[in-house]
């Protein structure tokens, strides 16, 4: 069975084509700068040459057409025809309280994803573009949605509610949904396989640190809290998002700067975080370079704020779970920045971490333990693999389609 997994962002499309019988990736890549100058397609077949092709990619549909075109091309293809693709799995950011697991995409599901656009205005529309494009290109091929929020549906009420008038929760569904659920789910399960422990009696804190970043408390295999909330702007400091902030600051800025709602949203989502504090970049590598190579004070400040916020969350989640057995680092920064892992863990000896500095320093983007052998709390890097999870979920649902009518699968 061949499954293509798509992760559509506002101007990018990440794709992976899986052969599920062997669980191998036949090809993967990304389309970047959709609708912008300098758009390109990157293509990495499993046993061929990686190429980057520049050209005009006006929208998601044409981006996906090129992906299918190259996957099935004579010269570089890994399949003979794109009709060989048995199913499509989509990453969808917000599924609200409606979806606590992956689902077959039918009209009802699409309508719900549309309804959630107002809760995830930066993400759900792009995910929908991918779904619509595939409907147009491969109308007979089943599509599955895997939601970022689904894994966090186990968070108990006392942790997901905000202390605002209850009627607003009833009226609009204002509550913590959390994001990066597929990643938190994958790395928490994977880390237990690596350590050969039973997930059902582990207290795990998973730190997904990428350009967007979130942290989750996973007790006995279930997410019981996470740092992102109704929107992905809450919690950790991110590349361009502010994370936790006094709501009074928001109304104060709006009043003083005479700005409207879309503008304050852009300010908090795109002009803040590491970029906003340092004024240098949203990329941790650049900021780190400025802090250590150029001795830039604001870069140092940004990094210290970033580390401090993560540490604070680890402490609070250890309290929430009554302890912690495993801390996992994942995501672009979590997997690659030894400095971030070190700075986050350095004052946490009191909760039982014995950090292995040399193991940490050597490590880049692979599964490895970075706490000492006798450390009470294990600290482990687990590269995330959301695409594989989406492909597995998609396969399971599509196999069930053969026995159940499609429209009942939600």
């Amino acid at each position: 069975m061949k499954i293509i997994v798509l992760n559509c962002g506002s101007s990018s499309i990440k794709y992976q084509l899986f052969e599920m019988t062997t669980q191998t990736v036949l090809a993967k890549g990304v389309v970047e700068k959709v609708g912008l100058h300098g758009s390109f397609l990157k293509y990495e077949p499993h046993d061929g040459e990686t190429i980057k092709l520049d050209g005009e990619i006006l929208d998601h549909q044409s981006g996906i057409e090129y992906i299918l075109g190259i996957l099935s091309s004579k010269k570089r293809g890994v399949i003979k025809s794109f009709e060989e693709i048995d199913a499509i799995g989509h990453r969808v950011v917000l599924g609200g309280e409606e979806f606590n697991k992956s689902v077959y995409i039918n009209d009802h599901v699409i309508q719900k994803i549309e309804e959630f656009v107002n809760l995830a205005p930066l993400h759900n529309p792009a995910n929908l573009k991918g779904i619509y494009a595939m409907q147009a290109l491969l109308p007979q091929t089943p599509q599955v949605a895997t939601f970022d929020t689904a894994f966090h549906q186990t968070i108990p009420e006392h942790a997901y509610m905000y202390a605002i008038p209850y009627s607003l929760y009833k009226k609009y569904g204002i509550r913590r949904y959390g994001f990066h659920g597929t990643s938190h789910r994958y790395v928490s399960q994977r880390v237990c396989e690596i350590l050969n422990v039973d997930i059902n009696n582990q207290k795990i804190i998973t730190c997904h640190l990428g350009n967007g970043a979130s942290i989750a408390a996973i007790k006995n295999g279930k997410s019981i809290d996470t740092s992102m909330g109704l929107t992905p702007v809450e919690g950790l400091i991110m590349g361009t998002r502010c994370g936790d902030i006094d709501p009074g600051v928001v109304t104060f800025i709006m009043q003083k700067e005479s700005i409207d709602i879309p503008t304050i949203s852009t300010l908090l989502n795109k002009h803040s975080g590491i970029l906003g504090i340092t004024g240098i970049s949203s990329d941790m590598r650049e900021v780190s370079g400025a802090a250590y190579d150029q001795n830039n004070d604001r870069a140092k400040l940004g990094l210290n704020m970033y580390y401090y916020r993560i540490r604070k969350y680890i402490g609070s989640y250890a309290a929430a779970m009554g302890g912690v057995d495993i801390i996992v680092f994942t995501g672009g920064v979590g997997e690659n920045s030894s400095e971030t892992r070190f700075e986050v863990c350095k004052d946490l000896e009191f909760i039982g971490i014995e950090f292995d500095k040399s193991a940490n320093r050597k490590l880049q983007s692979k599964e490895m333990t970075i706490s000492k052998a006798n450390s009470k709390v294990k600290v482990i890097v687990v590269p995330t693999n959301e695409e594989l999870v989406i492909a597995q979920d998609t396969m399971e649902i599509v196999m069930n389609l053969q026995t159940r009518p499609r429209d009942l699968l939600w």
Binding site: D54, L137, I259
Partner: protein, 322 residues
């Protein structure tokens, strides 16, 4: 031959039915520029046409400046700006509009009484280059779309779309069916309005629609209050803003629209209805004659510095000396 992305285009090019992808904007004053930004922001291509190469260049620079202002006000990011600009192109040649699915005419003539003829001419020129399914619209306030469209060979493809200023923040558009406008044109226009995340206000053709007809009478009546010495510009505006929750008071609004435009609208409405209430107040006329035409020139009912209001120019129909 070197390998290119196009080598991997699918042979069966699938175009979703009825998509609106390329928008032509003829006449690119302030409103035209705003429309360009909106259209591009929502992922469509915008091709604007104006009368000279120099103007086309200036317009592009203005759009760039507006986007930069927006970044400084936190409303956009650099990458948003790049994305928006990548879909905006300027031209002086009508032939460049040939592939447009949807054309918005937003011509603004300074010469009094010339607008109708100019717009008719523009409509004819648009029709001579676009495809048979292209929709031609006019951002008309007081002129009748049926009259402008009367010069077309296929007037059923014409419809009025009235954007209000500032179009980038106002979320409604008046959609005006002309006598000949057919259902397909109407539906496509409504679809376009929805594509740019605006709400449709359906209008049965009438000069001034809802918005212009009501706002000019309000501005005019505010001028009457001023003439009678009832209250100051600021007090009248403050009363309407705070008392009735209006975003701008009548004078502030007149300055934003442009007093010259207000007078032009009123002249057209007066010509149409011959009603006293549409006769422009001598206060506005006087300001226009003295070139106090509003925010765009730094003075109208208020004085402006770098776009910020710094004081009134007029007290009870008397000009304030600095």
């Amino acid at each position: 031959m070197t390998e290119s992305l196009e080598d991997y285009a699918l042979t069966r090019k699938i175009q979703r039915k009825g998509t609106i992808q390329k928008i032509g904007i003829v006449g690119c004053g302030e409103m035209g520029q705003e429309i360009c930004r909106i259209v591009s922001q929502f992922g469509m291509e915008a091709i604007y046409l104006d009368i000279s190469g120099e103007k086309v260049k200036i317009i592009y620079e203005r759009i760039v400046n507006q986007l930069e202002d927006e970044i400084n006000r936190w409303g956009l990011t650099e990458s948003d700006k790049k994305a928006i600009l990548s879909r905006i192109k300027g031209t002086t040649d009508y032939n460049d509009l040939s592939e447009c699915d949807f054309i918005l005419e937003s011509v603004n003539s300074k010469k009094p009484g010339s607008n109708l003829e100019i717009r008719k001419d523009v409509f004819k020129r648009i029709e001579s280059v676009v495809g048979k399914d292209a929709i031609i619209t006019s951002n008309n306030s007081t002129l009748m779309i049926s009259e402008i469209a009367s010069v077309l060979e296929n007037p059923e493809r014409a419809i009025g779309l009235h954007f209000m200023s500032p179009a980038t923040t106002i979320k409604i558009i008046e959609v005006i069916r002309g006598i000949d406008t057919n259902q397909k044109t109407f539906e496509t226009a409504c679809k376009f309005v929805k594509m740019i995340d605006r709400k449709v206000i359906i209008i049965n053709e009438s000069p001034g629609h809802i918005s212009t007809r009501l706002i000019v009478t309000l501005i005019n009546e505010a001028c009457e209050l001023l003439l009678e010495g009832v209250a100051s510009v600021e007090s009248i505006d403050k009363t309407m803003k705070q008392g009735y929750g209006m975003q701008f008071g009548p004078f502030e609004l007149a300055d934003r629209i442009g007093l010259d435009k207000v007078v032009k609208w009123m002249d057209n409405l007066y010509q149409e209805y011959s009603l006293q209430k549409f006769k422009a107040s001598p206060v506005i006329k006087r300001l226009v004659r003295a070139n106090y035409i509003g925010k765009k020139c730094g003075k109208g009912f208020y004085r402006y510095e770098n776009g910020k209001m710094i004081g009134e120019t007029i007290i009870s129909a008397e000009f304030k000396l600095q």
